[in-house]
């Protein structure tokens, strides 16, 4: 009995200790960075591609930065909880955010002020791009994107599509695309991409707009008519890009790192260097792993990341009222 509790206590103590250590203390910066483990806050539950990709990459970064990275999952409020935690942390380079469009842009537009803004962060770099897919029933009437658009045009507001939640990246991307194409569809929010896929398979909706292919390969019951990938996916070359179906929109989302505003420049440089060195040494291994996780490898610097986020901020804010996401 006792040893069980002792064992548990020590695990807990370790966890709590880590958090306490990494939190408020302001250590000496500069040459010595990093002198202790670096905490990366993932604002999602463990298991998704944002989480798995940063877990995998950071294990490679640590070789070049000399300290381990500790992944901490702080899910909640559609990623706002984790982002707020980092926004409020010391800008000492020991607390970083696994940044996506969701935490940085869409959550704030969809759910109102979470107590931070884009200005609360210094984007560091993005290592990959995530995609949104447009799937229909494999044996259904729509064989191409054009088929689907034609059907949607002939019965405005009648066709339905499912995705993983209101005000999510997929929701914004889909609405932006519908507006561009000139159709109007009814949105049915579910809680996750697989749930949206199951709704499609069960014939509840006409289209599913997930952020991953998952196991939905040809023969599984879902046909993907298009993806937002800039070029055909290494893992699924049979899915056309948006440009190929006549909609040349850049609608990927970024997976990267951000720090609390005011992080010293040399810390930024060290982190970016670690990433570049890791990529140079382990490129094929990393790319192989990314393909499995459906992340498109990309190297976007801080300025590029900033521009990407600013653009999304502008597009999606403008789109929000028409989606029923009024300012709160």
């Amino acid at each position: 009995m006792k040893w069980v509790f002792k064992c548990a206590l020590s695990v807990r103590a370790l966890l709590v200790g880590c958090v306490a250590l990494l939190g408020p203390a302001a250590p000496a910066l500069g040459q010595s960075y990093p002198t202790k483990p670096i905490q990366i806050v993932v604002p999602f539950p463990p298991g998704g591609n944002a989480d798995m990709s940063v877990r995998f990459l950071s294990s490679k970064w640590s070789e070049f930065i000399g300290q381990p990275f500790v992944i901490i999952n702080k899910p909640g409020a559609g990623s706002a909880v984790g982002a707020k935690f980092v926004a409020d942390a010391q800008p000492d380079g020991y607390t970083l955010l696994a940044a996506t469009d969701s935490a940085m842009v869409t959550v704030r537009i969809a759910q109102g002020d979470p107590g931070y803004s884009l200005e609360s962060f210094d984007p560091l770099f993005a290592y990959g791009k995530g995609i949104i897919l447009f799937g229909v029933q494999e044996n259904g009437p729509y064989k191409t994107f054009a088929d689907f658009v034609a059907a949607a045009k002939s019965q405005p507001g009648k066709l339905t599509y499912a995705s993983y939640g209101v005000g999510t990246v997929a929701h914004f991307v889909a609405e932006l695309l519908w507006r561009n194409v000139g159709v109007s569809l009814k949105y049915v929010p579910f809680r996750s991409s697989p749930e949206a896929n199951a709704a499609l398979l069960g014939g509840q909706v006409h289209m599913s707009v997930p952020a991953v292919i998952g196991g939905m390969k040809p023969g599984s019951g879902i046909r993907f008519l298009a993806s937002t990938a800039p070029t055909r996916l290494a893992g699924a070359p049979y899915i056309p890009t948006l440009a190929e179906v006549g909609q040349p929109l850049e609608l990927t989302f970024l997976l990267g790192l951000a720090a609390p505003k005011g992080i010293p420049d040399d810390v930024k440089t060290k982190l970016l260097d670690a990433h570049r060195k890791a990529m140079a040494k382990y490129r094929s291994e990393i790319e192989e792993q990314f393909t499995r996780l459906e992340v498109i490898p990309a190297e976007v610097d801080a300025a590029g990341m900033r521009k990407h986020l600013d653009d999304r901020q502008a597009w999606y804010s403008e789109l929000a009222p028409s989606m029923g996401l009024a300012k709160k």
Binding site: P46, G48, A77, A80, V81, G202, Q204, K217
Partner: protein
């Protein structure tokens, strides 16, 4: 038969010495984290995730799955001994398990929950093995209207959860449903009753409420009673660690029904283990010839739910493996772990990775046996905990509850909620309001609302959607029949009586 030759062939994969080690390690860690309130399988599995990157896919999944169902076994232990649920799915076990412990039958309660879990887990794995492909089709057929109708049926079970007054149970259920509306509106993104707090945006966690209401509430009322010299350490002699023959007899039915119920609900996404444990309790109470014993230490109230939650754990592998649809947070991590190894669960999984599929299934059999062997001897050790004086035990429990809660979310708001729930729990006991319907209301509320609103979006606001679909309509008719049974059942009885009299 095809299935069995496949099992035989791939059993070898699961039964390598290495994989057996991983299975044992998994179920052992699972038992530990299940026993500890707060630290759940999600935390443990994500800590171990990096380790599994280096393993074979089968070993990785065997290890992680072992933690998952091990936690379901361990979760009941603290429910029974100290009235703090280790896992959300063991909340309902607090009711009768703890009362049994107070009466000196802690060993029986722990024993029957281990055995029930074993039976539920094992039979559900058989079900998984034989029925996975057809059942995944059934899971797909379950759209929002069907889910809503099923939840309406579940809502009626609320009435049978409470002990004592029906109207009090009703009040608690409504309060629970109302608490369940806190958080972001799923269809509009609007914040509801969040008072500007980010922590409240995902709603109030049912596990948090349960720890507060059951665990802290019990501590407060024990201290209050003791200060008036009413109660002290459990003095009842703890004997007969295993259930006696009478208890066995009473448990068989609940275990059988719990297996079927748990497996069926486990297939549906969205907290099958939790819902099935509540549903099993309500059904056993309803069926029982002595419902007044429920809440006072009825072994049926432990055997049924504990069987059901384990059966649901196995059932939940069906949507995961056949649709890539994780039923809960743990399943989502398992999915991520499989992905890292280049394995994508989905409709084609069974065809493309039969070796992995069967290795997981076989490891679940083995894991269940290991858990039984691991848990039965531990029962003797756990009951010793009851000998620890309250002066030592209470601070320890509170420390665990607080650290556990904080380590999960890192949110002080959660601690405040837990504290308030503790005070409320004391108050409920004083006024004899049973908190079980409240907790179940919190679980059902968001599911019910989402399914309802999704259905209405699909039908352009027409209620007719619930009547047009055969599955949904059937559930609703059953719900209406059972709801109105108070009215028509006496009539049927009277009719029968007059008939037999006439004869």
């Amino acid at each position: 038969m095809d299935t069995f030759s496949a099992v035989a062939q791939y059993a070898l994969v699961a039964l390598t010495a290495e994989n057996l080690m991983f299975c044992l390690t998994g179920v052992f860690i699972g038992t530990l984290v299940g026993v500890l309130p707060g630290l759940g399988p999600v935390g443990a599995i994500s800590l171990l995730l990096p380790v599994t990157f280096q393993l074979q896919p089968a070993s990785a999944i065997i290890l992680l799955a072992g933690i998952y169902y091990g936690a379901q076994y361990g979760g009941s232990t603290t429910s029974i001994l100290i009235r703090i649920p280790g896992e959300a799915s063991s909340v309902i076990t607090c009711l009768d398990g703890y009362k049994m412990a107070l009466k000196g039958r802690a060993g029986a309660a722990l024993g029957i929950s281990a055995i029930g879990s074993f039976i539920g887990g094992t039979f559900a794995v058989v079900g998984l093995m034989l029925l996975a492909p057809p059942l995944s089709k059934l899971a797909i057929a379950f759209g929002p209207p069907e889910y809503f109708a099923l939840l309406v049926l579940g809502l009626l079970l609320l009435a049978f959860l409470g002990t004592g007054s029906r109207s009090k149970a009703g009040i608690m259920a409504v309060v629970g449903l109302m608490i369940g509306t806190v958080g972001v509106d799923m269809t509009t993104g609007e914040r509801r009753f969040t008072a500007g707090s980010l922590s409240l945006m995902d709603g109030i966690s049912m596990a948090l409420l349960a720890i507060g209401i059951f665990g802290l509430g019990e501590i407060i009322s024990t201290i209050a009673d003791r200060s008036r010299g009413m109660r002290d350490v459990i003095k009842t002699k703890i004997s007969n660690l295993l259930p006696n023959s009478e208890e066995w007899r009473r448990s068989i039915g609940p275990i059988g029904r719990g297996t079927i119920l748990g497996f069926a609900l486990g297939i549906l996404p969205g907290g099958g283990a939790v819902i099935s444990s509540f549903a099993s309790y309500a059904i056993e109470k309803r069926r029982s010839k002595h419902p007044e014993q429920f809440g006072e230490g009825a072994i049926e109230g432990v055997a049924g739910p504990e069987t059901a939650n384990n059966a649901a754990t196995a059932g939940a592998f069906i949507p995961l493996l056949s649709l890539g649809l994780p039923a809960n947070a743990v399943m989502a991590i398992l999915l991520g772990a499989l992905q890292i190894h280049g394995v994508q669960p989905g409709p084609l999984f069974l065809n493309q990775h039969p070796d992995l599929f069967w290795a997981i299934i076989v490891s679940m059999y083995v894991g269940n046996v290991m858990l039984l062997v691991l848990n039965l001897p531990l029962v003797g050790i756990w009951v010793q905990l009851l000998r620890v004086p309250y002066d030592l035990l209470f601070p320890l429990i509170i420390t665990f509850a607080v650290i556990g809660t904080f380590s999960l979310s890192g949110s002080t708001a959660d601690l405040v909620i837990m504290g308030i729930a503790g005070l409320a729990g004391y108050w409920f006991q004083k006024l004899s309001y049973d908190p079980a319907p409240l907790i179940f209301g919190v679980v059902l509320s968001p599911l019910l609302e989402n399914a309802f609103r999704q259905s209405l979006i699909l039908s352009d606001g027409s209620i007719g959607i619930f009547l047009e679909r055969p599955i949904a309509l059937t559930f609703l008719i059953v719900a209406i029949l059972s709801f109105t049974s108070v009215i028509w059942w006496p009539l049927v009885e009277r009719l029968r009586a007059t008939r037999s009299a006439a004869r």
